[in-house]
């Protein structure tokens, strides 16, 4: 991997990748944390919630990213 992106800036987990897909791939400014998917959550319900060892790909992006549905930028817009 070419570290032309400062690894320091990769500290934050990428919200798009955490939801399943990020179009920036290896060039993303955020960290792509690879996980296994929770089959229960994929079916529709997982009783373990946040304690589940596997990933729950959420549908909605965090509020601060909502104006960037296309993932056009990896920098969150600061909401007042």
């Amino acid at each position: 991997m070419y570290l032309h992106i400062d690894p320091e800036s990769k500290q934050k987990e990428c919200p798009w990748y955490a939801r399943g897909f990020c179009k920036h791939g290896p060039n993303c400014r955020n960290k792509h944390v690879r996980k296994l998917v929770c089959q229960n959550y994929l079916t529709g319900f997982c009783p373990d919630g946040l304690n589940c060892p596997n990933g729950h790909p959420k549908y909605e992006l965090p509020v601060m990213y909502n104006n960037q549905a296309e993932g056009s930028s990896d920098q969150p817009t600061q909401q007042p």
């Binding site: 229960n40 959550y41 079916t43 529709g44 319900f45 997982c46 009783p47 919630g49 959420k58 549908y59």
Partner: protein
């Protein structure tokens, strides 16, 4: 499968707690009520399919 798990058997229903995010537990916008009805429907479909499997599918 998870659709056979009765929500009544899930102890202390953590998604109901204050501050809990229901989307940590339910996907596809389900809540307790809609998830129950979805599971019931899935069960019905499975049973229907089993019954159909006992028939000659060539008739359909």
């Amino acid at each position: 499968p998870i659709t056979d798990v009765d929500l009544d058997n899930v102890e202390d229903k953590p998604w109901r707690k204050p501050g809990a995010d229901i989307t940590d537990y339910f996907n596809y916008g389900f809540n307790e009520i809609s998830w129950r009805s979805y599971c019931a429907k899935q069960k019905m479909l499975r049973e229907n399919k089993k019954m159909m499997g006992d028939l000659d599918m060539g008739d359909f």
